[in-house]
Structures are given as structure tokens and as C-alpha cells.
Amino acid sequence: MSEMLGNQYFLTRRYSDACIELEAEIHKNPLNKSVLKKLIICYLQTSQLEKAVHSFNFLIQEDIHSILDTDPIRDDCPCPDIIHKMDQEITGYHNDDGLIKLGILWLYCDIEESLNYFEKVSPQSEYYNLVDRIIIKLQQALKTLN
């Protein structure tokens, strides 16, 4: 129905509902970065890892700062909470998919942690090629930041 409604669903952590609204907006405007950065989290929270990784790679190649500039408090970003919950689930990220998920989420909070998780992804992962490109982008960004 609208981007704004999607944003509201996102704020109230209704990720499935938010996904529908934000995807509709992305169809209209594929370069809407603020929508895309929320949509990535929605994909992760609705078990759509493939879509999440592709959208994440697309966004960081386009403008990595749209994620790096996230203020967890002012933006009411859910990533710290999601990571915290995953940390409590012992088996949650002992596989490549879990590492990728954490790598994506950490970029909203801390680039070095994010890189750390992506670097742990094994070559057997079906997303390894994409992860490789992500790592290169993160390393470049980290150099610029330092």
C-alpha cells in the first residue's frame, strides 16, 4: 500500500507485513536505499536469506554508507536486539547461513565485527562468491574509514 505503512510495520517488528509493503515500494523505485536497508532485515527475519544476501550486496556496492550511517538509537534499529537473541541461541550461527546473517546484521552496528563474521564463511557456502565480493567491499570501506 505504501512505503510509510511498511516503515510502520518495520518499526513494530512486523517483518512479514513490512516485507510486502517495502517490496512493493522497491518494485516502483529499486534505488530507494532507505527502503532497501530495512527490507534486508525483513528478509533475514522471514527466512529469505537468498534475497537478503543479494539485496545486501547490491546496496553496499551502491552506497555502503546508507548502512554504515545507521544510528541504532535514533533509527530504532532492531539489529542489536536480533544479534543479542542470536547470541543466546547457542546453535543459531554455527553454520554458514548463520554467519552470513550475523555479518549482515553487524554492518548496521559495527563494520569490523561484520567483516569478522563474513570471513568465517566457508567456501562450501552457496553464497561464497557473493560473500567474497562483500568482503572486498567491506575491506575497502574499512580502509577509507581508518
Partner: protein
Amino acid sequence: MIDKYSRYILDSLAEGVYVVDNEFKLLFINKAAERLLGKNRNKYIGTVCTSFCQSEICETGCPISKVLITEKSVTDLETVYKNDKGELIPVKINSSLLTDENQTPIGGIISFRDNRVNKNLEELLKSDSHFHGIIGKSQPMIDIFRTIEEISNTDATVLITGETGVGKELIANAIQGTSKRSHQPFVKVNCAVLPEALLASELFGHVKGAFTDAVKDRKGRFELADKGTIFLDEIGEMPINMQAQLLRILQEGTFERIGESITKKIDVRIIAATNKNLEEQIQEKKFREDLFYRLNVIPMKIPPLMERGSDILLLTEFFIEKYARKYNKEVKEIDPDALEVIMNYSWPGNVRELENAVEYSFIREKKSDSLCLCCLPPQIRPQKKCSEHLSLHQLEIDDKAQELLSLLRQNNWNKTKVAKLLGVDRSTIHRRLKSIQSD
């Protein structure tokens, strides 16, 4: 997004206002919102609005998302916001969407006002001294409340007696409201207001052609109240002929519409009320003895206000809060000398008279925070004791004002009718009312 002049306008409003963008980040908070929640607006600009209002509805039913979904503005939605001390503030909010030229939502605006005054009144009504809207904690009233609760599971007929203005209709409402028929029809009839012929038609209905004006079939109040309750107010005024028909309904639950021979059966609980002494009416052959005993299954005598001393203060406080809200005044209490007069007055018109006196005082009040003695109606206050001594001329004006207000109340504030009664123009009534208010 918001220019300088719009900010001035929004800052001058008494209602709290805040504006969000399409990511629900605060773009603007007006001064009233800052004051009502005790939060520094500069700290919150740019943050998500939930951090500012901290309302339960942010999670469950954000008003802006409601507007987005329904495409209708939200008005007077009751909720609570959290102030800077973490206290919950009851508020009423309105919400609308901001859209661009293509009608795409680009943000939202919320206005809210402090709803504590209304909530206080509601809480007062829910407190121990209130029973289904009836105010009282005196022993006679507690006994009545107890009886009402005791009979809540029965269909027993109730006869409520008491002087005019004691609140017999409120008692009837409470009896119906606590009964197992509370979700069924509740029909009220004032037996004193209709002439005998019309009353019969009103109660039992008629068929087309039953009399000159009977152009079509019409159900009577008893039929409308089937499975529910009927309240027959001023039963003492019911014509003796009709009392026989009522008795039949009480005994058999049957009646016929006027002009029809088909007998109808109904299931109606009857609550009757009167300010007359029915036993005296029986002696005078104005009321059927057999009907009296049928009605008087559960007798409920409501004491006059002067016998409910402790309730006078409670009722006065209640009416002060009620009229402060109605007239949008800051009055919160009554001066001790005025209260003394109220407590010692005999209140022949009972609760209704007390309510009218408080309303009159609000119209006349000159102080902003309390009602003073000189604002009370002249027949209640001892003129010589008035703390703000009034001149003879002022007292004369007072009496006239009281007469006018009393007439207006009796005629449901129909100024045209009162103007006719007094033989003056309607504009004269308006002028006098204006002068009373300015006095």
C-alpha cells in the same frame, strides 16, 4: 518542511502537536507537546516518534498506520503517553496523514490533549461511592445498592418511591443495568405526560383505523419492551381505567392493541416509580389496591437528600467537576462558607436542585478557582452573609436571573418557549443571559 509562520501557529496551540516524516522520525514538536509531556523537544527531533510519546499504542495500533490503512483520520482516540518522569498521562489524540501532490504519504501529524480531567470523572464514577452512575455512600443509599444487587438475578417487579429529584430514574437504570435483562430492550414511559387516550395507545399500541389518527398499525411500548424491561415513571398519575389493563399485564402478561381483538402475550419486567404516596391514593380511590400490591413486590424508598448528609458533599464535588468540564472553567472547589450553606440547606428539590444550584453558581462564578457564596442561587444562600456583599440592585438582578434560569431549565433551554412564557422577545432572553454571564 515546516516554515517559520507554521511553527508560530503550531506553537500557539494549547493542544500538543507533533509531525513525523514517512519513517516516523520527528520533524517538529510544538511547545504544548513539550509542556504536556515535560520533554525537551530538541532532544527528540530526528528520533522515531515512539521515543517521544512512549505509548502502548505504538506497538499495537499506531494511529498514523490506522489512517494509512483506513484512509480516515483518527479522532479522539484515548490512550496514555509517558511523561519525562515515567508517569502515564491519559490523552485523547487526533491523527492525520500528510501527503504530497500525488497523494503519496510523506508523513503524519498527531495532536493530543491531556485527558486527565475526563479520566478523573470516570474514575470518580467507578469508585466505591458510585453505583452504576448513582453517587452516594450514606447508609440508606448503600442499603439500596445492596438490594439492587440482591435482586439482580430475579425478574421481580420493583416500585421505587421518593420525592421529586431524588434520582428514581437512575435507580431504575441501575436495576435494569444489573439485571439479567440488561442486554434486552429497556423502554421508559412517563405516565404523567400523556392524556389517557394517548397513553393507552402508547403503552399497548393500536391497529390502523382504531381511531381517527391511527393511519397505520403501531406497536406499543409493552410490545417494544418484550423480553426486556419497562420503566413506568410517575405511575401514580396513571388513569384508574388503565390501571386495570396494567394489572392484567402484571398477572397474565397479556394485552390487546387498541382496535384489535387478538390477545398478545409478552414477557416484560416492570419497574415503576412515583413521588406520590400510593397508600393515600388508594384511600382516595385514585389508585387500585390490587395493582399496588402487584407493583410493590420489591419496594425501594429513596430518601430525600437532606437525609443523606454525607452524600451532599460527594454530590457537590461531583457536580463541580462535571460543570467545570462543561463550562471549561478551572474551578476545583467550593469556598467553606458556601459549602456550609449547601450542607445546611434543606434541598426540597433534592439532587436535581443541588445540581441546578451548582450549575447556576458556575454561570455566576467570579473567582477562577472556587465557587463562592455569592454565586449560589438567592433562595439557598442567606443574603446578609455573602462575603462579597451585593447591593440591593444586584440582589434584585440575582432573583430575576434565578427565575429566568429556572424557567429555561424547566423548558429544556428552549429560549423561544421561555420568551413566550415571559411575554418578551427571544432576543431579550439572549440579552439577559449574556448579562447574567458577564455579571
